[in-house]
């Protein structure tokens, strides 16, 4: 038996927004793999909960006419990983979703929860950051869209207003067309573990595959929130697909991250791993794009 005060079950977005207004202190529960754990360990014991678990309209992935990929926030990691639209257009997001927890956690955990819990170490946000994803937030006044990069305020806190609900994650067509990407999670175990450092990179190569037309990189667990590394991106943008470019890119990352030491590992080790993951993810992204690394 869980120690919570009340459970309000929403069947529609409108109802959820009404419940948010009526119960300002209540927490949203989607899949529960974060919320129920925090109730169990006492941190959120006695909370009121608004369950959005039953809002089936918020599940699934759609390809819109303009090429935007609309991801329902209640889509589970396993459904995301096996979705044909994701598999065809942004397979790197499936790769990231497959790194979460364990098979059972991937069946219950949702992409919306992965974003809204505000964790710096979550598996899908670095990839959503490099895909220039936007979040759609619906409240009493209607819906607004915010780049996912601006949605994060600080560790564990996102820009979700008291009456709002995350109702879609949107990946614009121009952000993925022509790009190939790779996500790497570094953790101590291969399953059921949280990232020590994670890195997602995507690239668009020139037609002759010899130069990097554009590159984007984002990291998890190296700062209070997931972050992009624009300096490293600039260091590689326009560069030839050479070891030198890869090295310049990876070492530039070190000036843009602010990792910490904790019981998982030290700051120095996180920096070392971040640089290494940056290089490997860039090389793999170039290879996936049909290019290769030259001396």
């Amino acid at each position: 038996m869980y120690d919570f005060k009340a459970l309000y079950e929403a069947k529609s977005v409108d109802e959820a927004v009404r419940l948010r207004r009526g119960h300002p202190g209540a927490r949203i529960i989607a899949g529960g793999s974060d919320v129920l754990i925090r109730i169990r360990n006492g941190k959120w014991a006695g909370a009121e909960l608004i369950s959005i678990h039953g809002i089936d309209a918020l599940r699934g992935v759609k390809l819109e006419d303009d090429g935007t990929i609309r991801i329902g926030p209640l889509t589970s990691f396993s459904h995301l990983a096996s979705d044909p639209v994701i598999g065809t257009h942004i397979p790197v997001l499936a790769e990231a979703a497959n790194q979460v927890g364990s098979p059972q956690i991937r069946n219950i955990g949702t992409i919306g929860g992965n974003i809204c819990n505000g964790s710096p170490a979550a598996d899908t946000p670095p990839t959503l950051f490099v895909l220039d994803a936007q979040v759609e937030l619906t409240g009493t006044e209607g819906a607004r869209r915010v780049p996912v990069r601006d949605f994060y305020i600080r560790a564990g806190v996102v820009d979700l207003k008291p009456d709002e609900l995350l109702t879609a994650v949107l990946v614009p067509g121009e952000a993925y067309r022509g790009y190939t990407g790779h996500y790497i999670k570094y953790a101590m175990r291969e399953a059921l573990d949280i990232s020590v450092v994670s890195c997602s990179v995507n690239v668009k190569l020139t037609e002759d595959k010899k130069r990097i037309e554009n590159v984007r990189a984002a990291f998890g667990a190296v700062g209070p929130v997931p972050l992009r590394t624009p300096g490293a991106e600039a260091a590689a943008r326009g560069g030839e697909t050479t070891e030198r470019t890869v090295k310049a890119f990876a070492s530039a990352v070190l000036g843009e991250i602010s990792p910490w030491s904790d019981w998982r590992t030290s700051k120095a080790f996180r920096e070392h791993i971040a640089e290494e993951l940056a290089a490997r993810a860039l090389i793999r992204s170039i290879e996936l794009g049909g290019g290769g690394i030259h001396a």
Partner: protein, 161 residues
């Protein structure tokens, strides 16, 4: 205050069930306490060990971190549901015995339900894929090798039929 109890209807191991559930109950609470399905083990109760794993509409879920009220309208399968009409155990259970994939037995029902999810897909998986798909279970006795062997043996036997 909303109601603390809610009437739910679901299918459990092929039978229609109805229960008044406390909204604070987990599905593991419901299955163990109301339906006496004690194959559903409570290990960590935070979704890490996989001992309480059951299938809901064919997908594996740790029932300790799934609210009982969410089971309304769902089709739930626990290890007890694998029993054949003649009272015999299923092929995957027999394989766990034959391959010595069981020692203390606490993780076994949950691990077998993940195996059932995989086997029901009817696909040929590599050893690596089996390991990934079974990675949501902690077993402190067997060292996992025998569990992987039992799943693989059953998969091959079913595919060759």
């Amino acid at each position: 205050m909303p109601d603390q109890y809610k009437l739910i209807r679901c299918t459990v191991n092929g039978r229609e069930k109805e229960a008044m559930v406390d909204v604070r109950a987990s599905l593991a609470d419901l299955l163990r306490n109301d339906f006496r399905l004690t194959s559903v083990k409570k290990g960590c109760e935070v979704g890490e060990c996989g001992a309480c794993n059951v299938l809901i509409d064919g997908e594996s879920f740790n029932s300790c971190i799934y609210l009982a009220v969410w089971a309304d309208g769902k089709d739930i399968l626990t290890l007890e549901g694998l029993e054949g009409p003649d009272g015999k155990i299923s092929d995957i259970q027999q394989a766990f015995i034959d391959e010595a994939a069981v020692q203390c037995g606490f993780c076994t029902p949950g691990a077998i339900m993940s195996a059932v999810e995989i086997l029901n897909e009817g696909r040929l998986l590599s050893d690596e894929e089996i390991r990934v798909r079974m990675s949501g279970h902690l077993c402190r006795c067997t060292g996992y090798e025998n569990i992987v062997r039992a799943v693989k043996k059953t998969m091959l036997a079913r595919l060759s039929q």
